[in-house]
Amino acid sequence: MFWVATCIFVVCYAAIVSEKIHKTKVALAGAALTLILKVVTQEDAFHSVELGVDWNVIFLLISMMIMVNIMSKTGVFQYVAIKAAKLGRGNPFSIMVIFSVITAIASALLDNVTTVLLLAPVTLLIADELEIDPVPFLITEALASNIGGTATLIGDPPNIMIASKAGLNFMDFIVHIAPIIVLIMIVWMIIWKIVFGKRLHVSEHLKVRIMGMNEREMIKDPKLLKKSGVILGLTILGFMLHGFLHFEPATIALAGAATLLLVSGEDPHHILVEVEWPTIFFFIGLFIIIGGTVKAGMISFMSVEMIKLTAPTADNSLVLSMVMVWFSGIASAIVDNIPFVATMNPLLVEMAEKIFGGTGVDALQHAKMLPVWWALSLGACLGGNGTAIGASANVIIVGMAEKAGKPISFVRFMKYGVPVTMLTLAISTAYIYIRYYYFG
């Protein structure tokens, strides 16, 4: 079974990377093969925590998509964006900074794709009004979305997967990841000031156009905005307390989504049809394929090799953490970070159990294991900034720019993405070393 599982895994991975066939088709076909060839049983695939579909991830994703779908109908994102542009007095660099911060915060709480989908049209309109090139603004928003999404458990799918596998809670991410993301944003914006500060200037009469925009027209449903704002706030509070309340994040998200569906008056057919089902089924297929590799021993074999390579011990996991930041970062710039993290998760579980002994939380949340999880999170999420295909938000931005007649070439995206990825991974490396190994 070892070679059968390995073959399915390698062929599916190659097909996903090639992008010749839609990744959801590949994942579901791989999952079907894994079940038909009895690499894992259906019982394992649907009900085993170690080998099967991680329903915590699935329901957290679906629930957050439902909430975002309802919130996006209120027009609040466009309102905030236009208000922010006016706060920046029509100054292009100020707008760039404010939009980056808004994108980062929104992406930390909601999904990255929705955030850029809602903000990019406003960005294009503002660039049109200011008669400037929108491309630096659009790429900056995609990068800010990926950086901001790294900050929280719910910000980016890799974090949801890592949290579920390692038993980490929302506040763990706030305490360990959010501070470095804030620092990264500050350093990045200072560098952006040097790069763009003097290049982005427009005449006063163009700024007047921005000041004349009417943001109040954006709010289409004030009642729905109030309801969804309150429920999202309560849901985030629930996330912050879920460890204390002993609820899984998916339970909190499901409660929030169900409440919002009930009180919003929206037709569930319309809301549910907008859930990104291809992404959800991609996850389901992937979990089953990876479950096959775990059961067949491939992940165990890889973990032994990884231990040989990085030589972690119960007292020192420095090399493993450092390798994890850069390996995850570079891999995620080239391939989708979701299958990457889906593979790394069981591998790190195996490694943790071998190095620290025992099973479960004791091994997974060992003081020397936690930095490795943070390294994986930072590498996988920030690495997505490297290329135009590194993250979903990048793909969306490139597509929207092309449709608007402002195409962004692969190389042009990399000119922004690669330096920012290097910078953020370098800061992350220094952070992990200083916080967990120098002072830890």
Binding site: L125, M213, E215, E217, K403, G405
Partner: protein, 154 residues
């Protein structure tokens, strides 16, 4: 009943290399539904609808909600016009065409309108030369007057 018997034959035809400004002026000034792009022999190679022209005059990213935030979009439209001046009729036209032939029947034409949301469908002869077009209204009028025999429909 063949559609050649009741199709509309007053059409606007333009060559594929017509520049955007001339095309816009011509399309806007004629009373016909579509502007048809034909080659030198009169063979149909593309169709330009009102929507095709309108969509070239507004940014693709603009939603109705976002449009309501700007006080006057005249400058945006003018900017789009300036950006599109280099285009020709061939750049604007739809190339994936649904066509009818002169010997197609009324019922075939009727079904075509059911299958897709067309305002009008061009009609070509056996050589592919554009000879007319037919709209939903013409079909309805013919059904009401000639098939159902309703005198008020004529």
């Amino acid at each position: 009943m063949k559609i050649a018997e009741f199709m509309n034959t007053e059409l606007t035809r333009v060559p594929p290399d017509m520049d955007f400004a001339t095309l816009l002026a011509k399309h806007a000034s004629t009373g016909t539904r579509h502007t048809y792009v034909v080659d030198e022999e009169g063979r149909l190679i593309g169709v330009i609808t009102n929507l095709d022209m309108l969509s070239k005059m507004v940014p693709s990213y603009l939603t109705s909600t976002l449009a309501s935030s700007i006080s006057d979009g005249g400058e945006l439209i003018l900017k789009r016009f300036e950006e599109n001046k280099h285009l020709t009729a061939a750049d604007v036209m739809q190339r994936d065409l649904v066509i009818l032939n002169t010997d197609d029947t009324l019922i075939e034409a009727n079904v075509r309108f059911h299958e897709g949301r067309y305002n009008a469908i061009p009609v070509v002869n056996t050589e592919g030369v554009l000879v007319g077009d037919i709209g939903r209204k013409e079909i309805l009028r013919h059904i009401a007057a000639d098939i159902c025999g309703l005198p008020g429909a004529v």
